[in-house]
Amino acid sequence: MRVTRIKEIRKETERIKTYILEEKVDAIPGQFVMVWIPDVDEKPLSLSYHKGNMGITVLAQGPFTNKLAELRVGDKVGIRGPFGRGFKIVGDSLLLVGGGVGVPPLAALADEAIQNGKKVTAIVGAITKSELLFVDRLENIGVRVLTCTDDGTCGTKGFTTDVLRDILKKEKFDQCYTCGPEIMMLKVLYEAKKKGIPTQISMERYIKCGIGICGHCIVDGTGQRVCKEGPVFRDVDVEKISEFGKYHRDASGTKIYFRNRK
């Protein structure tokens, strides 16, 4: 556990903030860190900035993330990691599909890919315009960004998967990357597979130790650990994860079925 200070806080949307920390990092996009607020809790968060000063981008949605939202520049947080396997850049034309706070690791991936001279297209979705994450950031570095909102306030009215289906009719990509709600990722996997595009998926499961020892993040079918063999999995691996898109486990290990499974 290393302790670092918050160097900068950027308000991204109403409930999402980016925290740039004093600690420097040299990680792989898709890797996560365990962030500790003393006396509060410790939670897994993807790196949204993976080189130089590390950055995380967090949606305030519960006790820990709300507490994080109260912190100020100069406050201390603890860090373990980076942990897990990140995204692998394959091919030249990459398609990123992100929903909600699934976008941060994809933004880091975009940074890395553009740096390496790749062509990057990103589909970014949210409920409404003000919730769209990192659109400017992505465009500024040269990513082609396609947005969509549930309410049509920006970009296509509809889901990322609708945009995806559309673009896949017209264009070809070497690799697809997705992070967001599992049901969305399930569909992305399906659409990309139909077109023969390999996909890399960043999964979320309940993380406790982050170092592959406690077993809380294990997925059924393969018995793999999301914190160690993941969080990024290749489509071929995900297909062997029998619980993917069906259920995950809570802090006790009890199965929780995804609600809006269609």
């Binding site: 556990m1 170092i211 294990i218």
Partner: protein
């Protein structure tokens, strides 16, 4: 060469996955047998109902080969574990169900439930270094240990293993009580009560403040416990605490252990640690001119 037996449970190798390490799901347990090479596996400790455990951090790594953990008995409750045991058994190695309880009745209920689900034995977790006052104390008193073991022993037909803590003045007395109460084997030891404070914040790191120290740094203590217990009891002893190499496992067995559990070792050597350690054990046995692992049990006495 490594074939052995613990109270009629047959093991291809004396190396057993310790409770609470990657033991939350059946697929994981199965993988630790098929891919990892474990001779048997112990489930996460299970109670009567789901429990989320302590706030995080639940684990902190010590530089010197140690881990301090305070998971807080997070588990889905034994009933939710029925399917997991089914899957775990597909690995082909004996599945041992770990049981905790906050009362005798709870221990009995869970042990009976697990017996119904087909585990080969139950291991009674008698002491949790990191769960408040409730329940943490059974293993610290020879009388309470006796009663729990006896109660469970009378309620199930499968072997009952008592898992002891070294956080006592005299572990041998507790071990003897468990033997008197009829346990079929003794596992020694569980993690030791420990703590980490972060100096930059002045705060304890673990959500629960106190946790259990495991890994290589506790091995000399665990070996001493096994040695002392094996000298005084007749039931088989299962060594546990920091075993990471073939040499460690052999050391435990020479001290008197009939089998050795591995937990934290997975951190440094991965899931296949069981295969690796088995191979290393074979090499040491060959070098020493032994034909069977049984020959080394207790020779340090």
């Amino acid at each position: 060469m490594l074939k052995t037996e613990i109270s009629s449970i047959k093991l291809k190798t004396p190396l057993i996955l310790a409770s609470g390490i990657l033991g939350t799901a059946g697929t994981s347990l199965k993988r630790i047998v098929t891919m990892g090479g474990a001779g048997a596996i112990v489930t996460k400790s299970l109670g009567i109902s789901p429990r989320s455990g302590h706030k995080s951090p639940t684990i902190v790594k010590e530089e010197k080969g140690g881990l301090i953990s305070a998971i807080g008995l997070a588990n889905p409750g034994y009933e939710n574990f029925k399917d997991e045991i089914e899957i775990a058994k597909q690995g082909g190695a004996p599945v041992i169900g770990s049981v905790y309880g906050f009362s005798f009745r709870e221990y009995i209920e869970v042990a009976q439930g697990l017996e119904d689900y087909g585990v080969a034995a139950v291991e009674l977790n008698l002491s949790y270094p990191n769960v408040g006052k409730t329940g943490a104390f059974y293993g610290k008193h020879k009388e309470l240990s006796f009663e729990v073991v006896k109660a469970v022993k009378e309620s199930v037909g499968i072997p009952v293993i008592a898992k002891l803590t070294a956080n006592v003045s005299d572990i041998v007395t507790v071990a003897k009580s468990c033997e008197d109460a009829g346990c079929d084997a003794i596992t020694a030891i569980t993690a030791l009560e420990a703590m980490k404070i972060n100096v930059d914040t002045g705060r304890p790191v673990l959500g629960n403040k106190v946790g259990g120290l495991s890994g290589p740094c506790i091995k000399p203590i665990a070996v001493r416990c096994v040695y002392e217990i094996a000298k005084e009891v007749d039931v088989p002893v299962i060594g546990c605490g920091g075993a990471t190499t073939g040499e460690d496992a052999v050391e435990f067995m020479m001290a008197g252990a009939s089998a050795v559990q591995i937990g934290t070792g997975i951190l440094t050597r991965g899931i296949t640690i069981f295969k690796k350690v088995s191979k290393e054990m074979e090499e040491i046995l060959k070098r020493g001119g032994y034909k069977n692992v049984g020959e080394i049990i207790g020779i340090a006495h």
